[in-house]
């Protein structure tokens, strides 16, 4: 399993994001806003606390139906985009 620190952005950085139930996301430092789907929103909420990849995949699997391997791939891909956007 991938190491949390190399896959996910720093939880303090993610914690600054304002998350709305609608999926609207606002970064108060960069001024950027984003829209995410329900899975992305759930993952962002998980990442606002120290969370490992396996823990995140497990939590998402409990909330959304999906194969663990596919979920893990999607989580890693989402985190990769997140690292480039949220600094």
């Amino acid at each position: 399993m991938n190491d949390r620190a190399t896959v996910f952005p720093d939880p303090e950085t993610v914690a600054r994001l304002a998350l709305s139930d609608s999926g609207f996301v606002f970064d108060p430092v960069s001024g950027r806003s984003y829209s995410v789907n329900a899975t992305g929103l759930a993952l962002l909420r998980l990442l606002q606390k120290p969370t490992g990849v396996a823990e995140a995949v497990e939590a998402l699997q409990a909330q959304f139906e999906g194969d663990a391997a596919i979920l893990e791939r999607d989580v890693i891909e989402f985190a990769s985009v997140l690292r480039t956007q949220i600094k």
């Binding site: 304002a18 606002f26 108060p28 430092v29 960069s30 001024g31 950027r32 806003s33 600094k87």
Partner: protein, 367 residues
């Protein structure tokens, strides 16, 4: 009926071309919303087509000024004439090009009874674009290299001196163009020199995103009421057409250090690039409110009203917390101008709607 005590504030910079509007109209709007009818606002313009001069809801009266290139004496003579008619209590200049004259004229304006809240001439000079690296070193703020350029040949030969493209070519007061080749550099040099004169400035390009901060320096090293903004949509000239408030303590700290290093007194706008490493690099300090200053009213930190309070010797009023996430979107709108009003400004240099008001010279606290 009880007389409403009134005071009079004169504001310049009422031009409002969508590509690059002046800040004066937004300053007047902030004052009107803070003080309502208790403030008489005098619009001062350099062009009879400045729309703010005709907007009665913001400007009770309007007058034409002589261009700064006409010299200090002409400007002072004109202001004295306007003051005789309007009894100006406070003057808020809003254009970079007029600031040097306004600063040097401040003691004579004060002798006439016109308050200002402006930086010392030395502080104004130390934040000019060509002196930013020197200032930044003192303040402990990062800054890209900048070089005064007096000939287009620089752009052909600069790579031998360690410069590379893209770079930014700037006028001393206004205009900034990103150029990607010697040809583009020379073209930008000629265009800017023709409009603003020499020297033109070359600044190393900083990859990143621009963030702006506005506030008021109290003259004793303290930055008051900072509001931070990220542009979300740009005009063709790179000015904000939409923006959103942000908050980053790192940006606020940089601005505070600059204000302290300059002992800055008066309004300012700090323009910084946040580079890929998250480090802020100073691009410009504008010695006035920015055209997006109405956003300060939108977040409960009405800075023109704050400046008015301290200019009248009152303590800085308490402000709302600097919260991120408030947007503005600018729009262009036509105002209908009776030809007679235009004629009055063209032929007589003024358009007064309410002379001889009942007034005193002290604003009552509004914030």
């Amino acid at each position: 009926m009880m007389a409403v005590p009134r005071f009079t504030v004169a504001v310049t910079g009422l031009n409002a071309q969508p590509e690059s509007p002046g800040p004066g109209l937004a300053v007047a709007r902030c004052l009107r919303e803070a003080y309502g009818p208790r403030v008489r606002i005098i619009g001062l313009g350099y062009d009879a087509l400045d729309p703010g001069l005709y907007l009665g809801e913001y400007c009770d009266s309007a007058h034409m000024l002589s261009y700064p290139s006409g010299g200090s004496d002409a400007m002072l003579e004109r202001l004295a004439g306007i003051h005789a008619a309007e009894r100006i209590d406070l003057l808020i200049p809003c254009l970079d090009a007029e600031l040097p004259q306004m600063v040097s004229a401040a003691p004579r304006l004060a002798a006439m009874g016109i308050r200002t809240f402006l930086p010392q001439a030395q502080a104004l000079a130390r934040r000019t674009k060509d002196r930013l690296p020197e200032l930044c070193e003192l303040a402990g703020v990062a800054c890209p290299q900048i070089k005064p350029v007096t000939g287009a040949s620089f752009f052909r030969n600069c790579q031998a001196d360690g410069w590379s493209y893209p770079m930014v070519v700037k006028g001393p007061f206004y205009d900034a163009r990103i150029v990607r080749s010697a040809e583009e550099g020379a073209a930008a040099f000629h265009a800017i020199a023709a409009e603003w004169g020499l020297p033109v400035l070359a600044q190393r390009f900083v990859a990143g995103e621009e963030y702006n901060l506005t506030g008021v320096g109290d003259g004793n090293g303290r930055l008051l009421g900072e509001v931070m903004m990220k542009k979300r949509a740009l005009t063709a000239k790179g000015k904000a057409w939409a923006g959103v408030t942000v908050f980053d303590q790192g940006l606020a700290d940089c601005a505070q250090r600059l204000v302290q290093a300059l002992s800055w007194k008066g309004p300012l706008e700090v323009e910084m690039m946040r580079d890929a490493a998250g480090r802020y690099q100073l691009i410009e300090i504008n010695p006035r409110f920015p055209s997006w200053i109405y956003l300060s009213q939108g977040v409960g930190r009405n800075l023109p009203a704050l400046l008015t309070e301290i200019a009248f010797g009152r303590p800085a009023p308490p402000l709302a917390a600097a919260t991120p996430g408030t947007m503005f979107i600018r729009y262009a709108v036509e105002t209908i101008v009776p030809l007679g009003d235009f004629e009055k400004l063209i032929m007589g240099g003024n358009l007064s709607r309410d002379l001889e008001p009942e007034r005193n010279s002290e604003p009552e606290g509004a914030l």
